[in-house]
Amino acid sequence: MTVRVQEAGFDLGVEVQSFATRQTNAGAVVNFTGIVRDTAAGDLDRMEIEHYPGMTESALAAIDAEATNRWSLKDSLIIHRYGILRPNEMIMMVATAAPHRADAFEAAQYLMDYLKSRAPFWKKEFTTDGAEWVDAKDADEDALLKW
């Protein structure tokens, strides 16, 4: 169970390889990666992600502990960046390891649903038209109801 909140980028290949190869009793590893998406107009210069140091780490650890408890995960990894990110850069990743794939998939989805709406990160998009905070979506809040 590892949580990393960092400004620096990460190497997805290295992280997933290292996560998968250190497992001893898991038959399934699932990875999700979130990437900075350009606007529909294609004019995104950058995204800035703000967070709440201290609470971010504790909120992610609590979400992770709940997932581990519900799905008997063997291991998990959450990496989430903050600061300035350009289009196509990786924002975050989660990886889960479980004996079977259903648990690994479900736990990864749970981690994603909760960290979208319950971990204190805020995104601001900077385009040629100016800067705007990204609004939370009702669909993201509704996604929590299924758990």
């Binding site: 709440y52 609470m55 960290l115 979208k116 204190p120 805020w122 905070w133």
Partner: protein, 82 residues
């Protein structure tokens, strides 16, 4: 003394990330009412608290949470991680 933290557009509207406040407010909602009376920028930031979330000592809470013994209160918009 309570540390008050602001994030995202709440921070921008109030114009600072953090301040210390001497207050006798019993709950978060009472604290918001006190802050709104200070200056327009607070009144603007707290105009619609249904658009805001609050954390008390780094735990998400409701606005009726009591403030007795609390060290840190943070106000921010709904989170957009992931």
């Amino acid at each position: 003394m309570i540390d008050i933290l602001y994030f995202a557009w709440v921070r921008e509207r109030i114009g600072l990330p953090k301040e210390q406040v001497e207050t006798t407010a019993a709950t978060v909602a009472d604290l918001v009412a006190e802050l709104k009376l200070r200056e327009d920028r607070y009144a603007v930031a707290f105009e619609d608290i249904s658009a805001l979330r609050v954390a008390v000592d780094q735990e998400l809470c409701d606005f009726d949470t009591p403030l007795a013994g609390v060290r840190e209160v943070a106000f921010f918009p709904p989170m957009t991680g992931g």
